[in-house]
Amino acid sequence: MWDYTDKVLELFYDPKNQGEIEETGEAGVKVATGEIGSIACGDALRLHLKVEVESDKILDARFQTFGCTSAIASSSALTEMVKGLTLDEALKVSNKDIADYLGGLPEAKMHCSVMGQEALEAAIYNYRGIPLATHDDDDEGALVCSCFGISESKIRRVILENHLTDAEQVTNYVKAGGGCGSCLANIDDIIRSVQQEYASPALNNYGVQVATEIVTSKQRSLTNVQKIALIQKVLDEEVRPVLIADGGDVELYDVEGDRVKVVLQGACGSCSSSTATLKIAIEARLQDRVSKSLVVEAV
């Protein structure tokens, strides 16, 4: 018997927002739908979002789920969480946020929260007309687990986002490895490679830390050249690896005063969450590392 929190049971026994949202033709309103999972794998979720076109706001959210207790509870939680958010805000909802909302999920059921996050992304991409494949098939879409059809990029992403350290956890989060098990060794390799990337001195932000310390000790009296060099360093060592793991990339185009101009590439260029990427992944990081007053914009 699974050990479920009261919140999980509450949303399972009495799910909120179940069902579909039909396109009514109401002016200024559109319905976005996202489907993820499969009946073969034993869980599937179809998410419907009613979006106010003008403001990009989610007016209503509903779900249809094939799956176990936690899949149903996760879907219901997700719909509660995203109502009232703009699409960009909704894109920031992570699987961890869904699990947290539920007061936690059994480790072996974390994939239910991942499914929720993915359905949300799928719905928003659909709405914005971005083929999901551009995001999903990064890293040449190398398939790691054929039993569950899971790509390397998806595994890397879940490792990074949830700080996973062993293959069993990866199985719990995305199911990869939960079938014949023949991909487990490859998953171990991916974990090791992700860890190495992030543990190597360069990527441990060692260089950036030193540079930041110098800057801070000088009360941020940076020369223009120093500033640009530091921005480049932060981008190279802290920002790009994350984006690359996600199938994208960023290039520094120019710095004009406090305006940092960048070019987003790969999946990030076409990705609907690029605004979010800019703000969270790049601007916040540069503000933290270089100067509070920096503003990042894409060119």
């Binding site: 073969a40 034993g42 207790t69």
Partner: protein, 402 residues
């Protein structure tokens, strides 16, 4: 809730018969002697162990010298397989089926890494074996054929004696995992082709932690538990006396009730099954409905998932089991249902109800009463409604190669 739950998960384990507990208790308190001891105190216990052995032999139609106590069904299966191979070191081939219990399947998989070749016989949609396929797989190199009597998930009964006749032609040892069959099917080892047979106490209203292996007299047996001379050197270790006494009594009672209990279970099971099928659309019975244990029904409720069904049943105090991946440690649905080639629409929503002689009509009525609303409720949540949803078809095809 524990005490008044409607317990329909008897293929997982059963309630210990109060009479069994009664005969067992003194061997935990007053009669604690070691049956191997020379003194009278131990001798009394030794005598009780012998009585239990006779009781157990009776349900199998075996001789008491052919019984070896084990700690559980898994030990019985492991011991039988290892013993058969040790006794014929020159033969390197094993035949089994795709739907065995992990206590057999996983041993075979391990043996494959040790140079043995294993044939895993397939089953058809009803979960039944193809005897021609069996025949074709047998060679002079076959050391062992290990096949279950009745499947724990679907209740499907294999034609053990017909299989045995073929096995004997090739001179292989025939082991049968009868953990689910003992007490539900009349057995007579005297007229049987079976060489070794495994049973487990807790499936027949005995306690957990005790089982037995029947070894036909004359079958060469090399033990894998080695130590003292207990069980005539075939299974070392001081006997689990209270459990052995209990198993003997449980076997006696099971034999006593066999006919009337199985008739009653069959009647209740059929009513449950037929009513659910009649009142709930889109559900099917999994397994061979003619060759089947009298107490088991496995029903696939399409478009919904088993764990969710179980949790709702649990709310009504009803305990059943599911072949869905979500209830097991693994993420793959039941290997038995998969081997039968069931469509995914049915596979994940399969529920096993298994009855016992304590099951009452009122309990079955209750399940019949609540089940339709449970299914309806989950189907209202499901994105799948019928088999030709485009989404669904794509998924089934994409994974058809698996």
């Amino acid at each position: 809730m524990q005490n008044n739950c409607i317990y329909l998960d008897n293929n997982a384990t059963t309630k210990v018969d109060p009479e069994v507990i009664e005969v067992m208790l003194p061997y935990l308190t007053d009669y604690y002697g070691n049956p191997s001891s020379m003194h009278t105190f131990g001798g009394q216990v030794g005598k009780a162990v012998r009585t239990a052995r006779e009781q157990l032999a009776a349900i199998l139609g075996a001789d008491e010298s052919e019984i070896v106590y084990t700690s559980c069904g898994t030990e019985g299966d492991n011991a039988a397989i290892r013993a058969a191979l040790l006794a014929q070191p020159e033969k390197r081939h094993i035949v089994t089926t795709q739907v065995e219990h992990p206590a057999v399947l996983n041993v075979c998989k391990q043996l494959e890494t040790q140079g043995y070749s294993v044939t895993y016989l397939s089953v058809n949609h009803q979960g039944q074996l193809d005897l021609d396929e069996l025949e074709a797989s047998l060679t002079g190199n076959t050391a062992l054929v290990t096949i279950m009597y009745a499947n724990n998930e679907t209740g499907t009964i294999f034609p053990i004696e017909q299989i045995g006749l073929r096995v004997k032609e090739y001179g292989a040892i025939f082991h049968v995992d009868a953990v689910q069959a003992v007490g539900k099917i009349p057995l007579n080892m005297k007229t049987s082709t079976v060489d070794m047979l495994t049973l487990s106490g807790h499936k027949l209203h005995g306690p957990k932690g005790i089982g037995a292996l029947y070894i036909r007299r004359g079958v060469r047996f090399r033990p894998f538990m080695i130590g003292g001379h207990q069980e005539r050197g075939r299974r070392a270790g001081t006997e689990n006396v209270p459990a052995i006494i209990a198993l003997g009594k449980a076997a006696e009672l099971e034999l006593l009730h066999l006919e009337e209990a199985t008739a009653k279970e069959r009647k209740l099971r059929d009513r449950l099954e037929q009513t659910l099928l009649a009142t709930i659309p889109d559900c099917v019975v999994n397994g061979d409905v003619t060759q089947r244990l009298p107490n088991t029904t496995n029903i696939g409720f399409k478009y919904i998932e088993g764990e969710a069904i179980l949790l709702l049943l649990n709310k009504y105090g009803i305990c059943a089991s599911s072949g869905s991946a979500c209830t097991s440690g693994s993420l793959e649905p039941s290997h038995v249902l998969r081997a039968m080639g069931l469509p995914y629409t049915t596979l994940h929503g399969s529920i096993r109800f298994s009855l016992c002689r304590y099951t009452t009509e009122a309990e079955i009525d209750r399940v019949i009463e609540v089940m339709p609303s449970i299914v309806e409720r989950l189907r209202a949540l499901s994105p799948f409604k019928n088999d030709d949803a485009g989404w669904l078809q794509g998924q089934e095809q994409a994974l058809a190669h698996r």
